[in-house]
Point group: C2
Amino acid sequence: MAHRRERALAVADAAGARSVAVSAPAAVTWLTGYVPDIETGPSPFALSAIAVLAEDANATLVVSEDEEEGARETGCEVVTYPGFGIGPLDTVANAAGALREALAGVSVAIDAGSFPAALTIDLEWIDVERDLAQARAVKDPDEVERIREAIAVCDAGQAVARAEARPGMTELDLWAVTRAAMETAAGSRLPVLADLVSGPRTADVGGPPGLRVVEEGDLVLCDLVPRVSGYWGDSCATFALGEPTEEARSAHARSLETLEAVVAEIRPGALAGDLDRLARAALDFPHHTGHGLGTSWHEEPRLVPDSAVRLEPGMVVAIEPGSYAGIGVRVEQIVLVNGAGCEVLSTHSLAL
Amino acid sequence: MAHRRERALAVADAAGARSVAVSAPAAVTWLTGYVPDIETGPSPFALSAIAVLAEDANATLVVSEDEEEGARETGCEVVTYPGFGIGPLDTVANAAGALREALAGVSVAIDAGSFPAALTIDLEWIDVERDLAQARAVKDPDEVERIREAIAVCDAGQAVARAEARPGMTELDLWAVTRAAMETAAGSRLPVLADLVSGPRTADVGGPPGLRVVEEGDLVLCDLVPRVSGYWGDSCATFALGEPTEEARSAHARSLETLEAVVAEIRPGALAGDLDRLARAALDFPHHTGHGLGTSWHEEPRLVPDSAVRLEPGMVVAIEPGSYAGIGVRVEQIVLVNGAGCEVLSTHSLAL
C-alpha cells in the first residue's frame, strides 16, 4: 500500500498539487483497500466514497455512516456524514462538509472524470485521472494476492459453466449457475462483467446472456470478470456442446496457439505494441490483444496497436486473442510479469 | 416524457439557468429513457452518460460510441465520442468535447453530486440535484407502466424464493434461483438491490445473502429491488420454513396489519409524516415507513418522521413496516396514488 500511495503523491506533486482526492471506486480501492458498492448505481444516501491522501499523513476515507464499518476495517482515518436514515436528505452538503474536514489544504489533484463537481467548490483542483490510472499498472504484492483470489473465483465459474451447459437450457439458465458458483466460491454476492453467448451469437465477439436456448453442437463463449474484495479477475473459454465442427476446431486451435505465442513473449521490457502485433499477425479480431487489470477491469498495460508501454515485473496482463468469422472463439489467460518472464495465474480449462 | 422535461426546465429556470445537464443514471433515464449500465461501476472507456435539455430543443444524449445504439433507440439527439477500442484512451477530453457540442450555452443546471468535475470546466453551473430529485416524485403514465413491469419481475422473484427455499441450502443458493427467476422474467440480466437473510440474521433488518445454511423453522426475509428497463421495482416478504413460532406469527400479524393500515390511508393530500407516525405508533422499527421509487430506488415521497410532503396522484410509494425484536419480519407493497386513494401494484404473497 505504501508503494502505491507514494506513486499517487508523486503524480500529484508533478501536477503541482499537495494532496490527492479520488472518487472512482478503482482509485479508492487502490489507495485504501476500501471497496465501494457499485452494483446498484449511485446511492440516494451518499456521494461516491472519497479517498484523500496527503504527504506525511495516513489516508482518509470520506464516506457516509453506512460505509463506516467497512471503511474502518482498512485502517484509514475515516470522516463520515449521515447516510441511510429517517432524517432529511442533504447528501451533497453533508459530503462537502466531511471532505473539507479531511482535506489539509485547497490544492488537490483529483480524478476529475468521476469526481463530483459539487465537491470541487472552493478547491484548487487539477485532473490527474490518466496519470493515476497509469500508476496502477505495476501491482504491489498484496494486490497480486487479491488478483489470485479473483482468478480462483473465475476458475470456479468456468468449471461450472463447462460442466453444467447442456442443450435445452437458456443462456440465462447457464449464467445463473455460473454466477452462483462464483458467488459461493467467494462467499458473497459479486459484481460481474460477463460475456455469455451461444451458437451464432458467438460471432458478435460477446454480449450478455439472454433467452436463447442452447442447442446441441453450439459453441458457448464464456468470459467471466468478477470483482472479489475490490480486485477484478478475468477469464475466457469457448467450448462446444457435443461434437465441434472442423471449422470450430480450426478456429479454436489457432486462438490457442496465438495465446500461447503471446504468453511465451511476456517478459520485462517487452513492448505492448509488439505483443499486439504478434497476435494480430496470426489472427483477425477487432479488439485488443490484452489488457492490465486490478482495481479496474481494463487498465495499463493495454496490448493494442502501437502501444509504447514496456512490460515490467509486477504487471498483471490478460491475454485474449479470438476469432469471429462465422463462429466466435476466444481463449484468455491472466499472467503476472516476473523477473524472468511470466507466471500464468489462470488454471481454467481452455479445451474446446 | 414531455411533462417531466418541462418540470426539469422549470427547475433550471428557477435556478437562473437556461439548460439542464445531468449525469446520474436516475436523472438520465428520467429525462431520456436511456438506461446506463451500472452493475460494474464506471467504465474505463467512458464517462457517465450525460443528458442535456434546453428549451425548445429535443433532449441530447452525450455518450460513448459503445452506448450509441441504445441512445438512438430513445429518439433523442445523440453526440458520441470514442469508446471501447484499440486506440489511445483520452476519455475525459473526448467526453468534454462531445458535451461542448451538445450544449447551447454555458449556463447550465446540473446534478452536481455526481456530475463529473472534468466536464464543468468553462461552464457556469449551478447544482439543482435535490430539486430535480423532488421533481421525479409524480410519475408520468409511461413511467407507471415501467414500474408495473418492474414489480411483475419482483413478484416472479418472490414466488420462486418462497417455493424453492428449503433447509440445507445456503442463502446464496436461494439467492441464485431467485435472481434467475427475475432475470428470466425480464429476459436479461438485471441490477438488483436485495436483502436476503435467514434465521437470526433477520433481526439485523437486512443484509446480503451469504453462506449461512437455512434451517427448518427459520424465517427468511426477502426484499427484492430489481431495475427493469430503467425503473426499479421493490417488494418484501418474510416467510417461515416449516411451522412458525408464536413469536413469529405475532410479529408477522402486526407487520401486516400496520402495512394494511397505512395503505388504507394513502390518498391525495395525505401527509407523508402522518403516514409514518401511524406506522411507528403500531410497530417499532429503525427505518423509514416507506419511500417513492422510479428511476432511483429511494426518492420522494419519503414516509419519514415530520415529512411535510403531501401525496399527489401519480406518486408511487413503497410501504414497508417491519419488526426486529429477536427475529425480523418485514412486509412491503407498492401502491400508486390515484384520484380516490390508491391502487396496490404488488401481487406477491405476504403470507408467513
